[in-house]
Amino acid sequence: MRNRFAELHPAVLFLYFTAVILFSMFFMHPVFLAISLFCGFACSAALHLGKTLRFSFRFLLPMLLVMTAVNPLLNHRGATILLYVNDNPVTREALLYGFSSACMFSAVLLWFSCWNTVITSDKLVYLFGSVAPSLSLLFSMVLRFVPRFKAQIRTIENAQKGIGKGADQGSIFIRAKNGMNILSILTTWALENGITTADSMRARGYGLAGRTSFSIYAFNKRDKTALIVLIVMLFPVFYGAFTGENNIRYYPSLAVKPISFVSNLVYAAYFLLCAFPLLFNAAIEVKEHDSI
């Protein structure tokens, strides 16, 4: 299925992920954590199900258990003592804090995996470009260079192997020398090819005054709607943050603001924000389906 959310304008995506990742990092309140973790998992699964499941079960779940278990063993703060291990108290607060931090950490990692898939290199280049055009060109050239470099080093390695001077032929001393030689050949090649690239840039007028920066991203009506919706949802979340709806005290004893009508509203807004990619996809799906 097409991910319509990922097709939004890079600036909208950037704003969204920055907000969600920052909120996930700083809101340690269990309701907020649960929302972020759940939505982060769902969004990541919508992008690539298999990878998300593998990542969650092989890495996140073990990490969750380890952090929950280790924190109370190292940290003895907290008022409610559950048991003693080697004369050291294990507290309920430390246990919960370990669990919450692990949840926070998992949520952030899941959101970053979404970021990685959705904000591809060219979108990042574009975002840079709107701030500093020359930086974005540099970035784009680096992205061109890295795969070329990798391919060339393989070619050189094979060529050297072909005349009996590979990095895996001969004694350890000769191997090391051959390996160094391969790097040296690569360097000369890179410098020499750099001249051709520079020529090619100059031939196409690089260095003339008044260079512009082109991108294939246009800010369309859908981006505008998405941006407005996002900003509208950010307000209640910020309001909640200022009034302390998201605050939690772990030590010496747990303390949260009691759940009220206002706090429910803030939770709802935060949920809508975190589930935005999924809701957006669903909304577009319904809309386009109806119009056919």
Partner: protein
């Protein structure tokens, strides 16, 4: 309108006494397609670069060079960048950015166009070249031919009035090269852009060009239509004549008054007209007894190979034996696995299954000679491969001998990167030979060599065979293989489809064969080389007389 005009133009490189260009007088009218030819080092590239001031080499120039009636040096940098497009040899190194669309827009960004204009122009170019489907792709996922087409498209997006191309197809395989040249022809015919192209492969360019200019040691020796230029080169016996289209060469070597053919089709018509007069008595070249050599240098049995564990098999059930002290050529399309097979023989790749038996020491000359050079001079670079226990005198002797063999003695103290493409190839070959292999493996050795050095190169291979070396070569260059190989094998889809003695092999194929064979099919039975067709023509003619 005149686009470029040279008048008594001379150019000398710094610290050189001999001028690189001498008394050039040329007028290039708008809309012409001009092929600029000459051997390596004849000054083609120097001449072409004079026309693009941003790329012109340093040196002293005399005489005048005008662009649309105005001295080129006085044109603004902006108009030079936009109006004169320049495509270079290397498809890889010319590409600056990582995305196809960004590369297409690079020149327009430099010229400071707004987004709307750039969007329109890149879209236009992408549709003109039929490359819309790659528009958002990463550059590194394109093939060499696609990359060069992208380079051309990103120049054309700037809407130049003149397009200069410096051996643009020398790094491409024949099919990609033909596609590329067809795109250049389309630009010339449909947009009326003036084209100046330097090229080694005259076979493909001659039928496209309106005019051919031949340079020799910095002087213009011919400036005429392709037919006339070819005739002139044949008459004066210029080394460049070796690169002419096959039908032209055959026509020139047979006494007749018929008009000169350029393409295989015209060649067939010519042959028909020529032979009708004299009835065809001799249809076949007498078969030379095949000198069979049962000694095997390399034997592969049921080999399978893939680059990645889960990846597709590149080599599939390959069984192949290479006879000793012979030249064996492996031909075939791109990506068929030829180079990989060579890598297996060289021990670079280990097959997942199957047996590899190599009788002797191998050395592989890679496609890109630059991947071998390590030191600052050719001599130092070569010395590095020699056994450290040899005395200095012995080392020197070896170096000198090898330098004479590959004919680069005067260049031993130059930096390998300062040599031309053909010279680099020779320096790399010398380095490989110094490892004293019993089996010499060559990957596309004729790529970028000019036709006159190809003949020298073939002689060199013969000498090596004489001294007991086995040569295995992977190539796209069918003409070269037909002319000089003992055995040929056709590689397809990871295995050998057919193999045999060179003549029988090519005579048995219908498309994948030499121009001479395609031209004489139906008239003669097994004429594969140019010499075969010429000999049969002369024989038939003499009989009539």
């Amino acid at each position: 309108m005149t686009v470029f005009e040279f008048d008594h133009f001379c150019f000398t490189y710094p610290k050189e006494t001999e001028p690189a260009l001498w008394d050039i007088r040329l007028t290039i009218p708008e809309g012409e397609f001009i092929a600029l030819c000459g051997l390596s080092g004849s000054g083609k590239t120097t001449l072409l670069r004079q026309l693009k001031p941003a790329l012109a080499p340093h040196g002293k120039s005399e005489g005048t060079l005008q662009f649309f009636g105005k001295p080129l040096a006085e044109c603004s940098e902006r108009s030079q960048a936009a109006d004169i497009g320049f495509v270079m040899q290397s498809p890889e190194a010319q590409i600056v950015t990582d995305k196809v669309w960004h590369e297409l827009s690079f020149g327009l960004e430099s010229l400071g166009y707004d987004s709307q204009t750039i969007r329109l122009r890149t879209a236009e170019m992408a549709s003109f070249f039929g490359i819309e489907s790659w528009f958002e792709r990463d550059v590194c996922t394109l093939s060499g031919g696609q990359k060069q087409l992208l380079n051309l498209a990103s120049i054309m997006a700037m809407q130049p009035k003149a397009l200069l191309l410096d051996e643009p197809t020398s790094q491409l395989d024949p099919i990609a090269a033909a596609d590329f040249l067809a795109a250049v022809k389309k630009i010339n015919a449909e947009l009326g852009v003036t084209v100046l192209l330097t090229e080694q492969r005259l076979q493909e360019v001659f039928p496209l060009a309106d005019r051919v200019i031949v340079l020799d040691r910095g002087r213009v020796i011919t400036d005429a239509s392709p037919r006339e230029a070819g005739k002139h080169l044949l008459e004066i016996g210029h080394p460049m004549a070796a690169a002419l289209p096959v039908p032209m060469k055959i026509h020139g070597a047979v006494a007749n008054d018929l008009p000169c053919p350029l393409t295989v089709r015209e060649g067939r018509n010519w042959l028909g007209a020529f032979l009708k007069e004299s009835k065809i008595f001799y249809r076949a070249i007498p078969e030379e007894p095949e000198s069979t050599n049962t000694d095997k240098a390399v034997e592969l049995k049921g080999c399978w190979f893939s680059y990645e564990k889960a990846g597709p098999d590149v080599i599939k059930d390959l069984t192949l034996s290479i006879p000793k002290k012979k030249i064996t050529c492996i031909v075939g399309g791109n990506g068929a696995g030829k180079s990989t097979a060579l890598g297996i023989m060289a021990g670079i790749f280990k097959p997942a299954r199957g047996k590899v038996k190599v009788n002797g020491r191998t050395a592989l000359l890679p496609q890109d000679p630059q991947t071998l050079f390590l030191k600052n001079t050719v001599a130092e670079d070569w010395a590095e491969t020699l056994d450290g226990r040899l005395s200095n005198a012995e080392k020197q002797k070896k170096l000198q001998e090898t330098a004479e063999l590959v004919q680069i003695s005067p260049l031993l103290n130059r930096h390998p990167y300062d040599l031309s493409g053909g010279e680099q190839q020779r320096a790399a070959l010398g380095k490989v030979l110094l490892t004293q292999p019993d089996i010499l493996l060559l990957d596309e050795p004729t790529k970028g060599l000019d036709s006159s050095f190809k003949i020298t190169f073939a002689k060199l291979l013969r000498e090596l065979i004489g001294s007991g070396v086995t040569v295995v070569m992977v190539s796209h260059d069918i003409e070269f293989c037909a002319e000089y190989a003992d055995y040929c094998a056709l590689f397809f889809h990871g295995g050998i489809i057919s193999s045999g003695g060179a003549r029988a092999f090519f005579a048995g194929n219908s498309f994948y064969t030499t121009a001479a064979n395609r031209m004489s099919r139906g008239f003669f039975q097994n004429a594969v080389r140019n010499g075969d067709v010429i000999a049969l023509c002369n024989k038939n003619q003499n009989r009539k007389d």
